[in-house]
C-alpha cells in the first residue's frame, strides 16, 4: 500500500520505442475499458439504482436470480444496488486521495528539492519514515481522532500517499534543476516561482501523472482495507470493503456477496494500473530521453 512503484526504473532504450508506443496504446485501451466500465457504473448509480438503497424487502440471502441480479444480502437489500453504490465510493475514494496526495506531495517535493544540505537530508529522511509507515496505521490514528467516515479514510490515504508523491517529485525536480539551462536561468536571476512554473512543472508532469494513476489504484485498495476493518465509510454505506467483511460470514453458504465486490475491485485496480502503464509508455519522457 505504500506505492513504491513510483521509482520503478525506466525501461530500455530507444530501439523498441515504436513498439512500446503501440503496446502502450493497446494497454491504455484495455485499461480504459475496464476502469471506464466501473466509472460508468458509479456514474449511473448517481441517477438510477435497481432498488432504493435501504429497501430491505428482498428476503434474506436469496442468491442470484430473477429480480435480483446478484441476489440479496442478509438484510434483504439488493446486492447489485450495493455493488453500484460501492463503485461510487471506490471512485470517490480514489479521486479524493489522489487529489490530496497531488497537492501536498508536489508542494512538499518541490520545497525539498530547492532545500539544501541538512534540511534536504532531514526532509527526505522524514519522508522515508512516513513512507514506511503504512497507510493503515495513519488511518487508524486519524479515525480515532475524527471517527470513522469516508472523509477520514480518504484524508489518511491521501496524506500517506503524499509522502510517496513528494519523494518522487523531489527527485524529478532535482533532475530538472541539474540541467544546464535551468542553472543558467537561475544564475541570471529568474525568481524561483517562475523557475518552478516555467521550467520544472512542464518537465515533470508526465511522470507524475503516471504515478498518480498508480496511486489511484492503491488508494482504492487502501480504502477497501480500511472499510474491511470498520475504519472506512460507516454503515449503511455500501463500501466494497465493508460488503466483503459482512459477506465473510456467509462465504460458503452465499458466495455471491463475497465474490462480486472483490472481482469488481480487482478489475478497477487492474484497469487503472493498465492506464498507468499505457501512459508511461506513450507519455513518459523518461522513456524517450533516459537519464539525461
Amino acid at each position: 500500500m505504500t506505492g513504491t512503484d513510483a521509482l520503478e526504473p525506466a525501461r530500455p532504450k530507444n530501439a523498441a520505442r515504436a513498439g512500446r508506443r503501440v503496446r502502450g496504446t493497446a494497454t491504455l485501451v484495455v485499461g480504459c475499458v475496464l476502469a471506464g466500465a466501473i466509472a460508468l457504473l458509479a456514474l449511473v448509480s448517481l441517477f438510477w439504482l435497481p432498488f432504493p438503497a435501504d429497501d430491505t424487502s428482498g428476503g434474506r440471502l436469496t442468491g442470484p436470480g430473477e429480480g435480483h441480479l446478484l441476489g440479496t444480502d442478509k438484510l434483504g437489500r439488493d446486492l447489485f444496488t450495493q455493488v453500484m453504490t460501492g463503485s461510487r465510493i471506490a471512485v470517490e475514494a480514489g479521486l479524493g486521495s489522489v487529489l490530496i496526495a497531488a497537492v501536498i506531495g508536489v508542494t512538499l517535493g518541490v520545497l525539498a528539492a530547492f532545500a539544501q544540505g541538512w534540511l534536504d537530508d532531514t526532509l527526505s529522511a522524514f519522508l522515508d519514515i512516513l513512507i514506511a509507515f503504512p497507510t493503515l496505521l495513519l488511518a487508524m490514528l486519524i479515525v480515532a481522532a475524527r471517527s470513522a467516515t469516508l472523509g477520514s479514510a480518504v484524508l489518511a490515504i491521501g496524506l500517506a500517499q503524499s509522502a510517496v508523491v513528494a519523494r518522487l517529485a523531489r527527485i524529478l525536480v532535482k533532475r530538472v534543476l541539474a540541467q544546464d539551462y535551468i542553472t543558467a536561468a537561475r544564475t541570471s536571476g529568474t525568481s524561483w516561482p517562475r523557475t518552478v512554473l516555467g521550467h520544472v512543472l512542464p518537465n515533470i508532469w508526465p511522470t507524475l501523472v503516471v504515478n498518480l494513476a498508480l496511486q489511484f489504484g492503491l488508494a482504492v485498495l487502501a480504502e477497501a482495507g480500511l472499510s474491511y476493518l470498520g475504519l472506512g465509510a460507516p454503515p449503511p454505506n455500501a463500501s466494497w470493503g465493508r460488503m466483503l467483511q459482512e459477506a465473510q460470514a456467509t462465504f460458503t453458504t452465499a458466495p455471491a456477496g463475497a465474490l462480486a465486490p472483490g472481482i469488481l475491485l480487482v478489475l478497477l485496480v487492474i484497469g487503472v494500473n493498465l492506464i498507468a502503464d499505457g501512459l508511461r509508455d506513450t507519455l513518459d519522457p523518461a522513456t524517450r530521453r533516459r537519464r539525461t
Binding site: D54, T56, R60, K74, L75, G76, M140, A144, S147, A148, T149, L229, G230, L231, P234, P235, P236, Q248, A249, T250, T252, T253
Partner: protein, 506 residues
C-alpha cells in the same frame, strides 16, 4: 479490527430474588443431555469474543474475566445459577435480623484456596472490602456501599451490618469473589476456591484452566477448559467449523447459524438472554419531553420486522425493560404496539402533525447502524426525519452517557434486573418520575421478595406506558456446540459461563 464492542454493564441497584435454597452444586445447567460415556480427562475448548483486560474484577477486568473465572476459578458466598436462581455456595447458612440490617453468614467447612490455605472469615471480610474500596472499579461497588460494618466473630462466621435495608444484598453477593487475603498479583494470577485453577493466560489468544484436585465439592467433569479469544464473529465461527473450539459462548449474529443448524455434528441452543436493544430518548430534551411524542415514535416502529431482519427469527419482543428471566416480567408488547395510524394521531395531538427532525446518535458497531437505518425508514412514514450520527463507543460515553448531550440514541443494555435505572433521574436518559423513583426505592427496602416484585411490576408498567424509552427487542442467547458436548450453560446470565459441568464424549 473491530471497534471493540462496549456493552453496558448496567447494574441492578435494587433487585430481589426468589431465594431458592437448593443444594449447592450439581443443579442442572443445560446443554444437550446426551447420555453415555464421557471422557473425564477431556479438554474443552471454548470460543469467545470477550477476552479479559486483566484477571481482577475489581480492577477493570471486564466482561471477559467474569465469563472465564466466575464460578470456575473464583466462588462467592452465593452463586447465580444458569436459570437465574441464587444458591448457597461458600456460605452454608445465612440469617437476617428482624430489621433487615444485619446479615450473619456461616462459612462452609473444609474449603481450600488453590494455594492450599484454608478459607476463613478474614478472607471474606477482605474480599468484601476490596469491592467497596476507594480504588475499586467493580461494577457492583455502588450496590454494596450499603455495607456499614463487617465483623468476624470467629473463623466460620461473618456478620455484615447495612446502613439501610437492601433486599438484593444476597443477590449482589453472588458477584463478590472470595479471594485469599494474602494473595498477590491478582491482575495476572489468581487464588480462588473454584473447581479450576488458572493454568496459563496468553494475552490476545487464550486462557486455560486446569481441574483443581483439592476442590471441596464435586470435581469438574473435564480436566481442562480453554477459553480461546477471537476479535470477530466470523473468525469465531470458523474456529468452530474447523474444530478448533467445541463451543461458542454467545453467537453475536445469525449469519453462520445455517451452517450449524443443518449439520448434526453441531447443536444450536436458543437460551434466555438479558440483553435489550434500546432506542433511548433524552426525556429531558425536546420534543421527547412530551410523552405523546415518545409513544408516537414507539408505535411507528415495527419492532417485529426489525428483529426479523437483524436476527432472522431468533430473539423476542418484550415491550419493556424487563426480560422474562426477571421476577417482575410481564408481557407488555401491547403497550405502544406497532400502529402507524395511532402514531400520526399522537403526533398531531402533540403539535407535530407535520412531523419533526431529530438526530440519532448511533454507536458504530452492529447491530446499531442496521437498526438506525431501519428506524429512519420507519419514521419517515409518519413524517419524522431522522439524521443518523455514527459515533464510537468512546464518544458515546462522553457525549451521551456523561454529558447527556443528545436527543436520542441507540444502545444495548446487557444486564438483568436493570429496570431500576428508571428510578434514577440523573441517569443518561433523563426519565424523571417522582412516583417511579419512590417505588424503586421502596422496592429495594422491601421486606419480602413478593413485595419487591409487586412494586417493580408497577414501575415496569408505568415506564412502558410512558414510553420512557423504546425497547426494540430482546436479543437471543445462542450457544452453538459440538454435539459431543453436554452440560454447558445455556443462558449465560450476566456473561458468566460455568465450564465445570461440561462433559465431552470420548
Amino acid at each position: 479490527m473491530n471497534i471493540k464492542k462496549t456493552s453496558l454493564y448496567a447494574t441492578a441497584s435494587a433487585a430481589a430474588l426468589a431465594l431458592t435454597l437448593t443444594a449447592c452444586s450439581g443443579s442442572g445447567s443445560g446443554g444437550s443431555a446426551s447420555g453415555g460415556s464421557w471422557d473425564k480427562n477431556a479438554t474443552v475448548n471454548i470460543g469467545s469474543l470477550y477476552e479479559p483486560q486483566n484477571l481482577d474484577n475489581t480492577a477493570g477486568g471486564g466482561q471477559g474475566v467474569t465469563e472465564a473465572l466466575n464460578g470456575n476459578v473464583y466462588e462467592g458466598l452465593f452463586k447465580l445459577t444458569d436459570d437465574g436462581k441464587v444458591d448457597k455456595l461458600l456460605a452454608t447458612d445465612h440469617k437476617v435480623s428482624a430489621d433487615g440490617l444485619t446479615y450473619t453468614f456461616t462459612l462452609r467447612d473444609g474449603v481450600k484456596f488453590h494455594s492450599g490455605k484454608q478459607l476463613t472469615s478474614d478472607d471474606v471480610k477482605y474480599s468484601l472490602e476490596k469491592v467497596i474500596a476507594d480504588d475499586s472499579q467493580s461494577a457492583r461497588k455502588s450496590n454494596l456501599e450499603v455495607i456499614k460494618d463487617i465483623a468476624t466473630p470467629d473463623a466460620h462466621t461473618v456478620k455484615v451490618t447495612l446502613s439501610q435495608r437492601s433486599i438484593s444484598f444476597v443477590y449482589n453477593l453472588s458477584y463478590v469473589w472470595i479471594i485469599n487475603s494474602q494473595a498477590q498479583n491478582l491482575k495476572t494470577t489468581e487464588d480462588g476456591t473454584g473447581p479450576y485453577r488458572l493454568d496459563k493466560w496468553t494475552r490476545g489468544s487464550a486462557l486455560s484452566l486446569n481441574r483443581f484436585a483439592g476442590y471441596w465439592g464435586d470435581a469438574a467433569r473435564n480436566q481442562k477448559a480453554v477459553f480461546h479469544y477471537y476479535k470477530d464473529a466470523t473468525a469465531l465461527n470458523n474456529a468452530l467449523l474447523t474444530n478448533a473450539v467445541d463451543v461458542v459462548t454467545s453467537e453475536q449474529s445469525p449469519d453462520s447459524l445455517d451452517q450449524f443448524k443443518n449439520n448434526q455434528n453441531y447443536k444450536v441452543n436458543d437460551g434466555n438472554s438479558t440483553t435489550k436493544l434500546l432506542l433511548a430518548f433524552n426525556d429531558k430534551a425536546k420534543p421527547f419531553t412530551d410523552v405523546r411524542v415518545r409513544q408516537a415514535v414507539s408505535a411507528a416502529i415495527d419492532d417485529k420486522k426489525l428483529l426479523e431482519s437483524v436476527w432472522g427469527g431468533y430473539g423476542k419482543l418484550i415491550g419493556s425493560m424487563v426480560p422474562p428471566t426477571d421476577p417482575w416480567y410481564e408481557d407488555l408488547t401491547e403497550v405502544n404496539a406497532h400502529d402507524p395510524a395511532r402514531a400520526k394521531k399522537l403526533l398531531a395531538e402533540a403539535g407535530y402533525a407535520k412531523g419533526f427532525d431529530f438526530t440519532l446518535d448511533t454507536p458504530n458497531y452492529d447491530p446499531h447502524p442496521t437498526a438506525a437505518t431501519f428506524i429512519k425508514s420507519e419514521l419517515a412514514k409518519v413524517g419524522i426525519t431522522v439524521t443518523i450520527n455514527t459515533i464510537t463507543p468512546d464518544e458515546w460515553y462522553t457525549k451521551v452517557y456523561k454529558n447527556h448531550d443528545f436527543t436520542a440514541t441507540l444502545q444495548e443494555h446487557v444486564n438483568d434486573r436493570d429496570l431500576v435505572w428508571y428510578g434514577n433521574p440523573d441517569f443518561y436518559w433523563g426519565y424523571d418520575n417522582k412516583q417511579v423513583t419512590q417505588w424503586v426505592r421502596q422496592a429495594e427496602e422491601a421486606g419480602s421478595a413478593a413485595e419487591q416484585t409487586e412494586l417493580l411490576k408497577k414501575v415496569n408498567r408505568k415506564t412502558a406506558e410512558d414510553a420512557a424509552s423504546d425497547w426494540l427487542y430482546l436479543y437471543p442467547q445462542i450457544v452453538v456446540a459440538d454435539s459431543k458436548l453436554s452440560g454447558y450453560p445455556l443462558n449465560g446470565l450476566n456473561s458468566q459461563f460455568y465450564a465445570y459441568d461440561i462433559k465431552k464424549k470420548g
